[in-house]
């Protein structure tokens, strides 16, 4: 194998330190959360697909989805999906800003990172309040 032929040179190289050597920081945590929410949304597409297929299949299949989304577990999953979606979107905006080589000063990057966290929680709550009112609100 080609990897083995280059092995002697590879083995002598110093290894870069990994996660456990760094003090946890907000920017680091939000970077990890961005990846975790991305992975969660990846599997969350199954929910979206289920909902769409059920709607296409007919009233009975759609009633099953509505029943599950009405249970406590269903609501928790849906709430988590909403937050992951919004957080990943805002985190993406932050990364797009960083892609333009702006916002890297210590205060700026802390502010951007905090804004995505506070913004995602606030927006998720707003969406759920609007959704709750759309469902008929307190009856």
């Amino acid at each position: 194998m080609a990897e083995l032929d280059a092995g002697s040179a590879h083995g002598a190289r110093p290894l870069s330190p990994h996660l456990q050597i760094y003090r946890p920081m907000l920017t680091m945590m939000m970077s990890i959360v961005h990846r975790v929410t991305g992975a969660a949304l990846y599997f969350g597409t199954l929910l979206l697909a289920w909902w769409l297929i059920a709607a296409a299949a007919g009233p009975n299949a759609y009633a099953n989805v509505e029943w599950f989304m009405g249970t406590l577990i269903g609501k928790l999953v849906l709430f988590g999906y909403t937050w992951a979606l919004i957080h990943h979107m805002l985190g993406g905006v932050r990364h797009l800003i960083w892609d333009t080589i702006h916002g890297f000063e210590p205060a700026e990057r802390e502010l951007l990172t905090l804004a995505t966290l506070v913004g995602s929680v606030a927006l998720t709550l707003v969406i759920w309040v609007v959704g709750y009112l759309a469902m008929g609100g307190p009856r």
């Binding site: 949304l41 597409t45 297929i53 979107m89 759309a134 008929g136």
Partner: protein, 130 residues
């Protein structure tokens, strides 16, 4: 795989390829799909909230109407490519065994294609009612 290897340095062999052996094109595509994903995500949230609590017949009618269906299709296809790239990046970061890496990358592709085609089919069926 043995004789000519010493003629090229390890750096020369890997330059421009990276873990996926395909270069940096996907980095750019990830940016394009993330920018497109912003308005599409907002639209998805608006559509879903607007459909909450409605009857099955109303949901079918709204999801099958041209503007909503087109936005949903754009969201699904854009997200599919975005998440395919993203999951590939995660796999390449953590799965180093060649056999497992190959199988994970294939599983990623299969998963994305199945979920995407199922969702697209559902939207088309809602749109054309066949």
């Amino acid at each position: 795989m043995s004789a000519p290897l010493h003629m090229r340095t390890p750096t020369r062999r890997v330059r421009g390829l990276g873990a996926a052996h395909s270069g940096t094109g996907l980095f750019w595509h990830q940016r394009i799909t993330s920018v497109a994903g912003i308005p599409l995500t907002i639209a998805l949230v608006v559509i879903v909230v607007a459909l909450l609590g409605r009857s099955h017949a109303a949901v079918v009618q709204i999801l099958g109407s041209p503007l909503v269906a087109i936005v949903m299709l754009l969201f699904i296809i854009n997200s599919a490519y975005h998440m395919w790239i993203g999951m590939q990046e995660i796999i390449l970061d953590y799965v180093h065994d060649e056999k497992w890496k190959l199988m994970s990358l294939m599983a990623n592709t299969f998963f994305v294609i199945v979920v995407t085609f199922a969702s697209v089919y559902a939207i088309l069926k809602l749109s054309f009612g066949v």
